[in-house]
Symmetry: C2
Subunit: 210 residues, 2 copies
């Protein structure tokens, strides 16, 4: 029974890592959709988000099934709870990518001076999701720490965005509102990747990340 | 041991309901801060958010302690996992109220035509947090359903906000960006209240909310 539990738990963790990769794919496609007005990329981001929701739902059910097994010890149960929590994180990452894709689908275009900012945000966010998946597989706490550095980059890019909006903005109120929201979506996506890294650090070391 | 577990679990659920009330207080103060440029209200919202984070942290530790007890059956463990998940929801509600308070602290003022929209958003969001706490206490699934109706009201108010930004907007790009983000914070706050209601429905009926 105990072996069965451990093997099911390892499989759930591995699924979670795969879902982080799906989230990376979703934000990549959403960013392409946004910057290139590519509606088929937007569609792909939406589909990846849909897959993420379905698979997180399955993952949660698997976690609840695991709780029904008799042998688990407390430390393993803690991993089960963490899997459910991180499932919610990757699910949000998918939703945020979908919001970015929706903005592209509404026909909103990024004003030219902001294109490099969003391009970099997209690249960093995508890499963070990939790294979060890698950390889930390796349980390497150093890699988990790097996620916080990348998060600082996203925050810096978001400040640059606000500087442009508050400066000599010539693109209208609606574009300002869209840009602010898009910046928020990327920031939150990055936050969830950091949360995954932090949870792994906590599982490995028993100490909460700073 | 089993009695000990049940009593600790009931206490954790009751703490969660209290925290939903704290979130209601935080969004109330944040809205006052925003609409009246009241910096002491902003301060109170920030303090309530800080309390929320500390208490959710304690709640999570309590949940992990519960997992270490030997007697829990699977259905009880499911409640433990739900408590941890909903802890994350109320924590986010606190953070969102704090973001609204921060916007007020930065000196951002709501353009006059949007004041009624934000006033109503604040009232509905506050009521939703109170209702989420009540549902946690009563496990009344009808009350849980009402949370979705209120969420529709918040979404409608947010659309009104966008209509104004996309219309004859005379308040500049920065105010448009702030208004869009503030609308997003209220919307997410409401979403988390709905998530609490949905989780209670799921615990009671075993069927996911629509």
């Amino acid at each position: 029974m105990r072996t069965e539990f451990r093997s099911a738990l390892t499989s759930a963790e591995s699924t979670l890592a795969d879902l982080a990769d799906t989230a990376a794919g979703a934000i990549e496609q959403a960013t392409v959709a946004l910057l290139e007005a590519d509606l088929s990329a937007a569609q792909r981001a939406q589909e990846q988000n849909k897959v993420l929701h379905e698979r997180v739902n399955e993952l949660e059910n698997t976690a609840y099934d695991l709780l029904a097994l008799q042998a688990p010890v407390a430390s393993d149960l803690r991993v089960v709870v963490t899997v459910v929590k991180l499932g919610a994180d990757v699910e949000r990452m998918g939703s945020l990518a979908a919001h970015i894709a929706e903005t592209a689908q509404r026909g909103s275009r990024i004003p030219e001076p902001l294109v490099p900012v969003f391009r970099q945000m997209g690249e960093v966010a995508q890499q963070m999701a990939i790294d979060a998946g890698a950390v889930l597989r390796s349980r390497d706490t150093t890699d988990a720490g790097r996620l916080s550095d990348d998060d600082d980059t996203v925050d810096r890019l978001r400040l640059e965005l606000f500087r442009q909006i508050a400066g000599n903005w010539e693109h209208g109120a609606e574009a300002a509102a869209d840009a602010a929201l898009l910046g928020r979506y990327y920031e939150r996506f990055a936050d969830h990747a950091v949360a995954i890294g932090d949870a792994v650090v906590y599982l490995v070391t028993g100490v909460a990340a700073e």
